[in-house]
Structure formats: structure tokens, C-alpha cells
Symmetry: C2
Subunit: 335 residues, 2 copies
Amino acid sequence: MSMDRPLIVTMGDPCGIGPEIIARAAAAGALDDALVCGSAPVMRRALAAVGQRRPVAQVDEPQDAGTVPTGTLAVWQPRGLAPALEALPWGRVSAAAGGAAAHCIEAAARAVMAGRGRALVTAPVHKEALAAAGVAFPGHTEMLQAVAGGVPVRMMLANDELRVVLVTIHVSLRRAIDMLDEPGILQTLQITHSALQRFGIERPRIAVAGLNPHAGEGGLFGDEEARLIAPAIDRARAEGIDARGPFAPDTVFMRARHASGHPGEFDAVVAMTHDHGLIPVKYLGVEQGVNVTLGLPFVRTSPDHGTAFDIAGRGVADPSSLLAAARMARQLAGG
Amino acid sequence: MSMDRPLIVTMGDPCGIGPEIIARAAAAGALDDALVCGSAPVMRRALAAVGQRRPVAQVDEPQDAGTVPTGTLAVWQPRGLAPALEALPWGRVSAAAGGAAAHCIEAAARAVMAGRGRALVTAPVHKEALAAAGVAFPGHTEMLQAVAGGVPVRMMLANDELRVVLVTIHVSLRRAIDMLDEPGILQTLQITHSALQRFGIERPRIAVAGLNPHAGEGGLFGDEEARLIAPAIDRARAEGIDARGPFAPDTVFMRARHASGHPGEFDAVVAMTHDHGLIPVKYLGVEQGVNVTLGLPFVRTSPDHGTAFDIAGRGVADPSSLLAAARMARQLAGG
């Protein structure tokens, strides 16, 4: 096993399904190039929850991952991680769990930034647990952005058929409309273009979805297309970015969809709102979706689901989205 | 052929793809129970455009459809239809074409209302042509609503996997949010419930999509769910309607999707905005979608595409959505 620069996988909230989906994926041999950043006893509990006997080896530094034999789960327990996390009840919001999850994310991100890991894959955290622990960030994206020095980032959701990048995310729809501006849309196009190029697409074809029905129907159903979106596209094109649109939101995702016998017209779609973008990505099943943070100086992916407290610890959680996230991280990091 | 109560199919704008998709469907034997409401010469031109020699028989009243032999296209030319429509150029906006299309829609709707037809299937019209003809309605829905005495209606889009009913349609997204109110949402639920019952679903399971990301995330991302949507659902449930939600828009359509090995959880999803509803219905291909007007005292379906002036008259237009619309009309009208 080459663990020279492992994939670093954070355990997520120890009381959620993160540890057990990692355990199932590892037991299936799908994480042999990965180092888990988390608590070794939490990972032992997770392996037991999914009925697996795989041994766990704890390392103190990511560069020690190579000393762990194949068939053993390598867990890097970063300095300062709280003890006794394995005693926390499954499926409950806990400040200790939130704090530990955040601690691992930060350590793992710094390690990947420093070149000690190939890419970062994060298991789900719980917003309320982070807040209970006094973590200053509402979620992964903001935390990683801070570690990376505040670079502008965007959320991309991707599956085998479709890549979607969002201009606005976790705000009310009304506020999302208020927040739309030409610089924000242009920046999304720039980030999308650079990221797709880094991911190996030489000249990414980027479709831009409108905001309004029929992309405004020539101004009859709203003016954001003419006032904000089209000018941002024009500026992006002037910079050599192959951005096109704005297109009617209800058909652009279908046009971009890559399926057998249906080659998509675009490499990614930029959507103005959270749900315009996520409805089509999730339509064929959440288990296939991967969340990718664009704009960071390293590759970061995550499964497209939460901590699922309602089923945590029962050994029934589906690792498909985590596996897809790991596959995409390898692919984006260049194999 | 039983033409006792035929399916009545309006020709749509004579300069668009309506006549030729009808011609192709008829030539394939898929409209043997249908009477076209339109111009016989226009239908002859359309048959020629698609390379079919099927004879056309003109009747003056819908009840004469039974006199037309099988293998012959029955065309009911309503009194007062403008002459020489077959001389209009393909693919151009024309007042004469718009006026003729509207004339046929009104005649066909009145015939179906009077029980002379089993259901109404409408081929596409062109908004600008209707306006050029001085037609007081922007499209089919408003015209049919007027013929039916102003009853409240809603647009449903359906394919084999998903049925979606829209609370708001052709307005800007900002205005759609402003227009949302509890009575309008409740009325949508009532119309959806009654229509699905009429269509043979005894106790329709209706999911209601929220407006905001994560259905408002407990008020953090908007209050329309708590202020308008949840109260409307409560009132609907008090009336015995099995309405549930509001659910996160990005996952409710996936949950409602009926596919092989994936039985949907709901019979229909009510969406607050045009694109929340239409993105998932169209994602797998426009050619499968059917538009159904709910609330009318008769069944009306239409293909989910426009007049496609860019390809009209070339004989290449795909009749799939029209065929799906005819199949759904038969099914909804009880076989």
C-alpha cells in the first residue's frame, strides 16, 4: 500500500454515521490508500457497530501512515483530541463530539495544505454540535476557507451525470435573490473555470442557469438575467471563459446531463440558488452525490448527506456517497 | 374504430410543429380514436411534410367523426375558421395562424365540455401569434379557464416517474415569492387532491415542497414554510387531504420519484415555484413530459414543448410528448 501521501478522511461527528460509513468502506477494502483523522477508540466502536473485526492502528503524525500494514485501519489521532469520545451516546448532539470533529477537520486540512495528504474527504458533522462546542464556523466550508486564509470558495455538487456550482447557498430564497450581483456571479464562473481546468478539463463548457422562469422571458418574468447574469457572462467570456447562457433553469440541467446515449452539452452548470442546483443533482438519488469545495488550494470532497443521528450506531448507514467522495477526491487530485 | 366520443386534438399554431407531430402520430396509428380540430388543408400539408400519404376527411361537426373510415385522418374544421392557412409560411409568427389556433381551441373545449369528446389534447400555440391576433389570453390555460367559466386551475407536469403541481407559474421568482399565500397553497392542495381522485387514486399522497433551502431550516433560511405553507397543509389535512411537508425542495422530488426498484413515497409533489417543479420533471428528458390542466371540468393534456418554429415544416419534429399527452388523456378520462 502506498501511503506516501494518503487520502485523509476525517471521522466527522463521532455520534453520527461518519465513523461507521468509514468503517464499512474500509472493511470493503475501498480506503486502503486512506488515513482516518479521528479517534482510534471511536473507529473501533464503529467497526464493531458494523460487525467488522479489522484491527485499528493509531499513528501520531500523518507521515507515519506508511508504517501501518494493509488490512489495518490507520487512524491519525491529532494532538489535543478530547478523550473518551467512544463513551458518547450515538445519535445525540454533544459539545464534546462537535469540538472533536472540528479539531480533526482543522488538523486534517492543515496536513493536506502542507502536502502530507493527497486530498481531504470529510465525513458529516452536526451544525448544532459545532455550535454547542463554541466552534466559530457553521460548517466545513467556512472552516476550510479559514484554514486556507479566507479564499473565496463555492460549493459544487456532482454525480456521474452532472456537475452543479452554486452562486448562493444557505440563505432564504428571498435573500438569495437580494444577494445576487454581477461580481459574485463572475467570481463563481472564474472559480468554476479554474477548478475544472485543474481537474483536467482543458476548456470547460460552463452553462449558466437563469434565476427566473424561462430565464426571464425577455424581461417579462424578471430582469436579473439582463441586469446581472448576462453581464457577468460577458465579462467571463472576455477573460476567455467558455460561459454560456443564461438558459431557462427548467431545461439547462437536462441539457447538461451526461448519460449513456445522451452526451451532455456542458461540463458544469452554474445555478443561482441552492435548490435550482441541488434538485437535479439529487433527483436520481442522494447516495450518488458528492460535495466538492471549489476555490481551496487543495482537493476537498464530502458525501452529500448529514450525520443521520436517527440511524447512527445501528450499522445500517449506506457508505455509497462516502465511497463516491473518495473516488472523486482521487480523481480530482490526479489519480 | 369507436369514434363515439373521440379524443379531440387541436392542431395548434399552423406554422409550428403541431400539425406535423399530429400527422406523424396519426400515420403511426396512435391517434385512431382521435378527431383533429383544425384545418384540413393544413393537416394535408403536414402529412406531406412528414412524407405520409394518409387521406384526410373533413367533418363539419364532431359527432360526424364516426363516419370517417379507419386509416383516414378525421379533421373537424369548426365553423368560421379562416381560409388559406396552408399558404402561411412555416416558422413565422402570423396573426392569421394565432387567430385560427385560438378558434380551434375554443371550439374543441366547448365540444369536450358538451360531452362530444372524451378529453382534449392541445398541440402548441405561439404566444406572440395569439397576441398578434388580438386574442385576449396569453395561452391555453387562461383560454380554457375562461371557457369553463373562470374556475381556478393549476398546471400539473407529469411523466412516468413524477407528477408535479405548481402554486405559481409565469412570473419572476421575486414576484412568485410575493404572491405566495395560504389560500393559494390550500387551493392548490384541494385541486390536486380532487384531480388525483378523479384520476383514480383513492387517497392521493401529496408532498408539499418548501420554498427555501432545507425548507427554511427551522426559520434560519426563511419563514414562508412556518408562516404560509405549514398552515395551508394543516388546513388541508383538516379537510381530509393527505398532504405532508413542507419538505426540503432538494430531496422531495427524489423521494416522490417512481422508478423500477424505487417506489415513490408520494403520488404528487406541490411546488411553490415554476422551476422547483419543472427542473425534476424535465431532467430526464422533455420528450416524456405531459402538461395537464387541473381544475377544469374536463381532461386536458398537452405536450410539454412549444411550436419549435426553428424546425417547423421539416418533418423532423419528435411526436413523443404528444403521444404521451394522448395516452395520459385517455388514462385520465378513464380508458
